[in-house]
C-alpha cells in the first residue's frame, strides 16, 4: 500500500483495502475531497466514532412522477439499483472521502471526483452533518442502473452513499437528513427535487410535501397487496433539455383541477391498496405526459399495448424514456412487458428491454458490514 501526499489538497491515495464487491483486496485509485473542515487525528467531542471498518449498501431504482404526481411523488422498485462499499481508510486524509472505484453501467461517464459524483456529494453531506473530522473514507460505487433511463440512477447512487456513511458511524441520522444529503447531490445533477432520492432512501411511495422545510409523507401500500411494475427501457437517450422545455409554463384551470384530483386519487389508491384506482390515476396525467410522450418514439403505442394487455395503468417513468406499467401479477407483467417491447419496435423503431419488479418497501439498506 502506498500513499503519496503531494499537498494537503492535492493528494492522491493509493490504498490497498478490502473491496466488498470482489471480496479480494486490490489497490484502488481515486480523487478525494476536502470538506473544508480542520482535520484532526483524534476524535473530536461529539463526533461519532465508526462502528464498522467497512459497510456495503444498496439503494433501489425509483419511479418518479407517476403521472399526476409530477415533481412530488415517487416510489421505489425492488431488485434493481446501485451498491456502495465504504471503508474506513487510514490512507485517506481524516475528514475526507475518496472515490476509489466505479464499476458497472456507464462507468466512463462518471467522475471519481467526489464533488462531481452523485455518491460523493451525498457522502460528503452526511459526513458534514455528522461532523466527521477524524476519519477518512474510501468509497466504491457499483452502478446497477443505467444513466438517463428515468429510473433514478443518480438518486440511487446518492442514497446508497448517504446511507453507507450514516451506517458506518452508527446510524445517527434519520430519513429526512439523509434525503437532504441526497438532495444536495440531485441539485447538481438533475435539479432540486426529491421525488427519486426520497423513495430511494425510504422505500415504498413517498410524497414530497414541501422543501422549506423538507416535509415528506410516507404512503404505506398495504402489505397484503401485490404490486408489480413493468419497466420497459428503449435503447434511446431521452433529450433531457427538450423534455424539460416541453413542460407548459402555464396550465389551464380545468387541467389543473383534473390533475390535482387525479393526484389525490393516486394517493388514496396507494393507501387503500386499490390497484385498479392506482393504475387509472397513473394513466390520467393531462399536463406533462401529453407533452413528453411524443418526444419518445413509439410511447403512445407502448401505453396502448400495455393497457390492451391488461395493465392497470401506464405512463412515463420520471422524464423517460422508460415506460412503466402496473399490474398485480408477475406472469401478466411479463406478457405486458413483451407487448410493450414489441410496440417500441413497431411504433418507435427502438429496441427495448422489459423487466417486472415489485414495489420496494425498504429503501436504501445495509447489505453487509465488518465490525472494527
Amino acid at each position: 500500500m502506498a500513499t503519496c501526499y503531494l499537498s494537503p489538497s492535492k493528494s492522491v491515495t493509493i490504498p490497498l483495502q478490502t473491496n466488498l464487491f470482489t471480496s479480494t483486496p486490490k489497490p484502488v485509485f481515486g480523487l478525494r475531497c476536502n470538506l473544508s473542515l480542520p482535520s484532526k487525528t483524534s476524535l473530536i467531542t461529539g463526533e461519532p466514532a465508526p462502528l464498522y471498518s467497512s459497510v456495503k449498501t444498496f439503494a433501489p431504482a425509483t419511479v418518479a412522477n407517476l403521472g399526476p404526481g409530477f415533481d412530488f411523488l415517487g416510489c421505489a422498485v425492488d431488485g434493481m439499483g446501485d451498491f456502495v462499499a465504504l471503508n474506513v481508510d487510514p490512507h485517506v486524509h481524516p475528514g475526507e472521502i475518496s472515490i476509489s472505484a466505479i464499476s458497472g453501467n456507464n462507468v466512463g461517464k462518471l467522475s471519481k471526483n467526489p464533488l462531481r459524483n452523485c455518491a460523493g456529494i451525498a457522502a460528503i453531506e452526511v459526513m458534514k452533518m455528522l461532523g466527521i473530522r477524524s476519519v477518512g473514507l474510501s468509497l466504491m460505487l457499483e452502478k446497477g442502473l443505467p444513466l438517463g433511463s428515468g429510473l433514478g440512477s443518480s438518486a440511487a447512487s446518492a442514497a446508497a452513499a448517504a446511507v453507507a456513511v450514516n451506517e458506518i458511524f452508527g446510524n445517527k441520522l434519520g430519513f429526512e437528513e439523509l434525503v437532504l444529503a441526497g438532495l444536495k447531490s440531485e441539485e447538481k445533477v438533475s435539479g432540486y427535487h426529491a421525488d427519486n432520492v426520497a423513495p430511494a432512501i425510504m422505500g415504498g411511495f413517498v410524497l414530497i410535501r414541501s422543501y422549506e422545510p423538507l416535509d415528506l409523507i410516507q404512503l404505506k401500500f398495504p402489505n397484503d397487496k401485490q404490486l408489480f411494475f413493468v419497466l420497459v427501457s428503449p435503447d434511446f437517450e431521452a433529450p433531457t433539455k427538450q423534455m424539460r422545455a416541453a413542460l407548459p409554463a402555464e396550465i389551464g384551470m380545468s387541467h389543473h383541477v383534473w390533475n390535482c384530483s387525479q393526484a389525490g386519487a393516486l394517493v388514496a389508491s396507494v393507501l387503500q391498496g386499490d390497484l385498479l384506482g392506482l393504475g387509472k390515476a397513473l394513466s390520467s396525467d393531462k399536463i406533462v405526459e401529453p407533452r413528453r410522450a411524443p418526444l419518445i418514439p413509439g410511447m403512445e403505442g407502448v401505453k396502448k399495448a400495455a393497457m390492451e394487455a391488461g395493465a392497470f395503468g401506464c405512463t412515463i417513468s420520471g422524464a423517460g424514456p422508460t415506460a412503466v406499467a402496473v399490474t398485480d401479477n408477475e406472469e401478466r407483467g411479463k406478457e405486458i412487458g413483451k407487448l410493450m417491447v414489441e410496440a417500441f419496435l413497431k411504433g418507435g423503431k427502438l429496441q427495448a428491454s422489459a423487466t417486472v419488479k415489485q414495489l420496494d418497501r425498504v429503501g436504501a439498506r445495509l447489505v453487509s458490514s465488518i465490525k472494527i
Copy 2:
C-alpha cells in the same frame, strides 16, 4: 281536502296530509312537476312500490374545496343541514311531485316549482331513475342552512330529497345514482360540481375523481380520531360572480405542482388521521384562496386569528363567505371561533357567528318513516 285539476300540466294540488315537521295534519299548497312520463294508476312491471306512506330525511352541511381540493374534494359536517319530508300523496298526479311547503331559512327566496327548486329537481331525477309512474309525491322542505353561505345549502336540499325518494321506494339506488340526481340539481343552481352534494349524500370526505363516468372515492377518516370544524359565517353576501371571476384562467407550473402536492398531502392526512397534516394542507392553497380571500372583508385576519388560536388550518368554505378552521378539541374550537368572530368585526367590520361541528360520517339519512 280538495284537488283542482286545471290541466295535466298545470294542476294545483291542495292535499291534506300528515306533516312530519309539525306532526299535525294541515293543508299545504304547491306546484307540481310533470316528469314527462305517462302516468298510470296501476304499478307498471319493474316499478317499485312505496314501502312507506311518508319519510323524513336529513342531509348535512358540507365544506367543499378544503383549500387545495378545489372543485373535487368536500366533506360533511354534523348537526347542521336540511330536512325533507316526503309523502305518498294520492292527490298528486301519479308520477309527479309537488312541493307543498318550505320552511326555515330564506323561505322567500325558494321556488315551490319542483323544476326550480334544488330538492324538487333531485327528487324528480330519482323518480325518473326508479321509473315511478304510478305514485304521486308531495315534498316539504325545511331549510336549516342559509343560502349562499358556502356550506352547501343547495346540495343539502338536493341530497335530502334524493335520499327521501329513494327511501320511500325501498332504497333501490346506490350512492352514485343519488349523487347523479343531486348533480342535476347542482348544475342548475351553482354549476356541475359534486364536491358538496357527494359528501352531503355519502358523509365523511369524498373525492370526485371524474364525472364521465362519475367516479367517487370515499376517504375514510379514522373512527378513533376526533375532528372538529370551526365554521364562522359573517353577515355578508359573497359576490358569487366576482368569486368565480377571481379564479385565474391559467396557473404557473410551480403553483400547479405545489397545489397538487398539497392535495395529495390532504388526502393522505385524511386517510391517516393526521390532523396536523390535514390542517397544514387546508391552509396551503396558493391558487384559489389568495384570489378569493380579498373579496371577503377581514378574511385574511380571520385566518391569522384562527392559526394564532391554535387551529391546525383555516381556509374559505366553498366559495365563502364562511371561514372554516379545524381542530381536535371542541372547547379549543369554541375559543378559535370566538377569536375568528372578533377578527371579522375588527378587520372586515362584519358581524359573524361561529359554530363548532364534528365531521359527519353518515351523510344524508332517514330520520323517521311511517309504513304503508
